[in-house]
Amino acid sequence: MATETHEAAGHAADAAASAPGMPQLDFSNWGNQIFWLLVTLVVIYFVLSRIALPRIANVLAERQGTITNDIAAAEELKAKAVEAEEAYNKALADARAEAQRIVAEAKAEIQVDLDAATAKADAEIAAKAAESEKAIAEIRAGALESVKVVATETAAEIVAALGGSADDKAIADAIGTRVKG
């Protein structure tokens, strides 16, 4: 165990001796690194500040401008669309009002026609009814007359059949009172 540790320690010591330690602390090459670092930085600085950054700034500004323009155009189009919709709605409302007006007019016209026709028909009906009443009255009068005649004749026949004789005047009087009463 002891030898093992000793060996290991010896190995570690060997490694430490053969290894270069920390290359970062080897100051002999610092000048070299600093020189090349400064060269690198100067190159990067000029490339960036002369070419790359102005270019990217331009592209970004241009894009921003385009986006702003596009947004403005879109706003305009939107306003137009709203306007068009309003116009459409207005036209629709107008058309609807017009239609309603026409319907009302037509209705009124029809009503007038209808009223006239109704009045005419009423008058005709009234005339027809009067005529009919007159005819009925005539018929009724005719019928009474016929009843009288028939009754007189019948009564005369009956009287004759019974063997009596009766003058026409008495029969006519009797019939007249009976039929009337």
Partner: protein
């Protein structure tokens, strides 16, 4: 013998890394706690978060550096 002592010292210096880890965790944890309370203010403080982490971590890196120096330069 001296080399062994240096290695022990390097190991002790490495404890500093753990301490830095605690520090970084503290920073990040408190940031998260604050960010969850007020998420709207969180985005503006990420830069501060990273600066805090960097400062906490730098000290851990110092201890790491001491360990390296003990390992390789002493």
């Amino acid at each position: 013998m001296e080399g062994q002592l240096a290695h022990i010292g390097a190991g002790l210096a490495a404890i500093g890394s753990g301490a830095a880890a605690i520090g970084v965790g503290n920073v990040a944890g408190n940031y998260l706690a604050g960010a969850l309370r007020n998420p709207s203010a969180a985005a503006s403080q990420t830069a501060t978060l990273f600066i805090g982490i960097a400062f906490a971590e730098a000290l851990g890196i110092f201890s790491f550096l001491v360990a390296l120096l003990l390992m390789f330069a002493v």
